[in-house]
């Protein structure tokens, strides 16, 4: 757990302009209330099961294992979640939170478009207004996801500043949030950003590791020797790792 101001040791914290500080404090207060609230958790798990299609299988990759002639390899199949990635775990959790905070407009940044699609999806399902910020370069290389977001009714904001990728999309989303902070919920897609986002996104994604732990114990009767995950911002990795640490 981070300290009271969101520091993990030297890291984390809240380095934002003053206008956003009260919004972050409010978000933290709301989140700490729902974190242990059984009715929120029930609702969250209901949507994970009925809508996102959890739990996802922990699949023993028999042929890959044989081919590599070493350790037994299990695949945690987050690719089988609704919308095709683990991102939906977090967007469901945060959209439920936004609803409780009575914010009817959601904004999000996206790089590959997976988080954008997952956000547009839950916004459609809960009937919330949704705008997605995406760098121009990413819009060009991820046309499939761009089209999906539009079909889902989200408004796309193409970001042409800076390097026109994820970091610039996030700058632009922060600029929008600072302007419309009173009615807007910023749904960050990774374990980055100011406190409480890193902790909150980790908690929502921890469902990956909790399931994997239960599944491997049932299957092998013991915990794994290695967990492996890719790290960009880090949400799928911390989601898998956290329950094991």
């Amino acid at each position: 757990m981070p300290d009271k101001r969101g520091h993990f040791g030297l890291y984390g914290g809240r380095y934002v302009s003053e206008t956003l500080m009260p919004a972050l404090v409010e978000l933290e207060r709301f989140y700490s209330k729902v974190r242990r609230n059984p009715s929120f958790q029930r609702e969250f798990h209901h949507y994970l099961r009925e809508y996102a299609g959890r739990e996802t299988p922990l699949y023993f990759a028999e042929r890959l294992t044989r081919k590599l002639r070493g350790a037994k390899i299990y695949l945690k199949r987050e690719d089988l979640c609704h919308t095709g990635a683990h991102k939906i775990n977090n967007t469901l959790g945060q959209a439920l939170l936004a609803r409780r905070m009575k914010k009817n407009r959601i904004i999000a940044e996206t790089g590959a478009g997976q988080h954008g699609v997952a956000t547009a999806t839950v916004a459609a399902m809960f009937g919330l207004e949704c705008e997605i910020f995406m760098g121009k370069e990413d819009v060009e290389r991820q046309s499939l996801n761009v089209f999906r977001m539009k079909l889902l009714g989200a408004k796309l904001r193409v970001v042409e500043s800076g390097s026109q990728t994820l970091k610039d999309a996030m700058n632009e989303a922060l600029r929008d949030w600072v302007t419309y902070v009173r009615n807007t919920y910023y749904l960050i897609g990774s374990v980055a950003g100011p406190h409480p986002y890193p902790m909150m996104v980790r908690d929502f994604q921890s469902v990956i590791g909790k399931e994997a732990k239960r599944q491997i114990l049932a299957r092998e009767g013991r915990l794994p020797d290695y967990l492996v995950a890719c790290v960009g911002g880090g949400s799928n990795s911390i989601g898998l790792f956290y329950p094991f640490s």
Partner: protein, 268 residues
Amino acid sequence: MMNRIDQKFSTLRHCGEKVLIPFVTAGDPDLTTTLEILRILEQSGADLIELGVPFSDPMADGPTIQRSSERALKHGTSLPRILEMVHEFRRDSETPLILFGYYNPFLCYGLRRLAEEGRASGLDGVLCVDLPPEESGELKRWTSAEGLHNIFLLSPTSDVGRIRLVAREGGGFIYYVSVTGVTGARRRFEARLRAQVAHVRRYASLPIGVGFGISTPQQAAWISSFSDAVVVGSALIDVMERADGKREKVKRIGRFVASLKRAMNGGS
């Protein structure tokens, strides 16, 4: 020795004048021209100057200052060169100067080094847009040792608790952000801005400067009627962008700042 910022506010208060604070990005169009701009600002009535340190990810700024930062970065404007320029300016000027920027370039340069070299080159304060008082301990440790002020922001979303915090932790003056949003010209302001500034004053004894979006002499005059200082940034860069050639840019900026100052002093 008294900090130049405090001196300026107290002198002008005695004459019944308000403080005009122009903002320019260091290195836009280049540092040599910035030095000329600083001099013309001073001659045209600037009382204190905010010198923007360009950053690759200026998330609190609108398109005008983003473009300005990009131009400055394109030819390698960096903190050490900015400080050299400040040193040059300080040879024959006592106008207070504050650095206005984002935390990462400062952190990367070294906070202690920034404070020591900043003080030696003639800086008077530092304002970090993305550094609220809660995270400012490390920077403050070095800036206070050097007698530099840490200026903090307040905004229309700040509650009484945060106003008290900034009043306690800040130095020099309080920078009140006139609107929720990023920097850049606004056509109009809400009438309640006056009441919001009065509200801050109830809890803070520091002078209050208002900025973000102020772009005309009329706006500057109105805002100075209830604040202690007026900050003008993007509008200056707009003026500069519209002018062709470095000499013309410098000249037009001078004329524009003079018009702001005249309006604030009750002229037209």
